[in-house]
């Protein structure tokens, strides 16, 4: 019964979150770029235009994988969200290994993006695809260490326990740098700004360079849904998830997710993207050791005072 309610809440969360994400993603960059009054109708109009555009095939693509990639991306975003509790005991897929499920979603997302670029059978999408893999894999590695740091105080891999363990103090206080590292993963996994190595301007759209119309729309929808999911996971792992006074847990989670989402969209437009090799050495030589340090700090703290 609880699962059914949670599934309904999941639908509600997804639709509200998606609408919000589409609005923020459509209006915030336009506003930052100096437009005085960006229109809320624009995302819908864009979607209508793409729906009416012809779907193009390249020469000898892998049609099945090409079609499946956005579907897989969207499905992973939804599965990732399904292990997040909306309240005590309110989870669509109750799992005691929630963060490993989320980790699998991250890993398979990289597969989905690669599939999308590879199956077009064209040079620029392919370059975008494998470049993305090279950056996203270590970014995912980082996020797992950070999540383990969040799981340590809870002594569990489940998201519900992780939230309950934050009743005393939120994880963001325990490992502030962890939150920043996890936000970087959020940018990578939703293909945004400084971590968008798959669809950037220097590759004329990268993995999307050879798709048109409804396929572009499907890809955008999947990206935005993943943005909602990763924001919700961040809010759950670092900002106490559904915890909060007065309002119901669901609303608290929605508010925290919205906050993270705006931060992610803003950061995606605010920071410059390095060439991949430079980013790679930053991740492996600076960020990865930092995540180890965070993990160590949390462990020592729990040993001494936990």
């Amino acid at each position: 019964m609880m699962e059914l309610i949670a599934a309904l809440l999941l639908l509600l969360f997804l639709s509200v979150g998606f609408a919000g994400a589409a609005l923020v993603d459509g209006m915030l960059p336009a506003f930052l770029a100096g437009q005085s009054r960006p229109s809320w109708r624009r995302p819908i109009a864009d979607a209508a235009r793409l729906l009416q555009t012809q779907r193009i095939r390249t020469e000898a693509p892998d049609a099945l994988l090409w079609f499946l990639a956005p579907v897989l991306y969207l499905a992973l975003a939804i599965i990732g969200l399904a292990v997040i509790p909306f309240g005590p005991g309110l989870v669509t897929i109750p799992s005691e290994v929630g963060i490993v499920v989320w980790g699998s979603c991250e890993a398979l997302t990289i597969v989905a993006v690669f599939m999308f670029g590879w199956s077009a059978n064209a040079p620029l999408p392919l370059i975008g695809a494998y470049r993305y893999v090279a950056i996203a894999l270590p970014a995912m590695l980082l996020s797992m260490f950070v999540l383990i740091g969040a799981a340590l105080p809870a002594e569990s891999l489940g998201f519900t326990e992780i939230v309950e363990a934050q009743r005393r103090v939120w994880n963001v206080v325990r490992q502030p740098a962890g939150l920043i590292l996890f936000l970087m993963l959020g940018l990578a996994i939703s293909l945004r700004g400084p971590f968008d190595y798959a669809d950037p301007a220097d590759l004329a759209g990268g993995t999307t360079a050879d798709v048109s119309g409804p396929m572009v729309l499907a890809w955008k929808i999947a990206r935005l849904t993943m943005l909602v999911s990763v924001s919700a996971v961040t809010a759950t792992a670092f900002l106490g998830g559904y915890l909060g006074p007065l309002l119901p847990g669901f609303v608290w989670l929605l508010l925290k997710t919205a906050l993270i989402l705006v931060v992610l969209v803003g950061a995606g437009n605010f920071f410059a993207r390095m060439p991949p090799a430079r980013m790679m050495s930053v991740i492996w030589t600076m960020l990865l050791p930092l995540s180890f340090l965070m993990l160590l700090a949390v462990g020592v703290e729990l040993l001494l005072w936990g």
Binding site: D62, V97, V100, V111, F114, N121, L126, Y130, V133, L137
Partner: protein, 199 residues
Amino acid sequence: MGLTDLLFLALSAVAILSGWRVFATDSMVRASFLLLLSFVAVGLIIVMLAAPYIGVATVFMMAVEMMVMALFMVMFMMNPAGLNPMMMVHQHRFSIVAGVLAFAGLTAAILFTSFPKIPVDPSTPVVHDLGIELLGPSMLIFETAGVTLLATMIGSVILSSRSGRFGMADQGSRPPGLEPDGEPAGRQPEAGNGHHHHH
């Protein structure tokens, strides 16, 4: 036949079919992804066997591994999307014999093993118990294996990279002498060996 049985049969069918297609497809990237699909199905079966951590971790690990494998395929075969089809199997006779033997062996092992029939009590903290086991009695084994693997990986990357500690590998990099202006330390390269033709 309950829902669980149906789910098990469906997942097994996916695992076997995609495992077979690995050898029937004509592109290495497709082969990697089919293998991944097969492993995901197996991982979900393991989840059904009340071992959630091992099952989900299988999916996680295999997604990463197959991705890295597919990436290397593309690096060595940039041929996008398998536009040029390739033969994916070689050494036919040897592989047929090896396959038949492995199948017979595993089947025999399954048929002659008596599996326990005690269902796991749903309230058993399986993940917790597994953690205690991994980081308790078996810790030494796992840590030794892990550190050895890591050292092997780092070592092989360092040995195979062109830019070495004492200069480019193909330009006869030589370590400095033990005393100032002395003979280079370490093994002396044979004459004519140091210059690899590079264009």
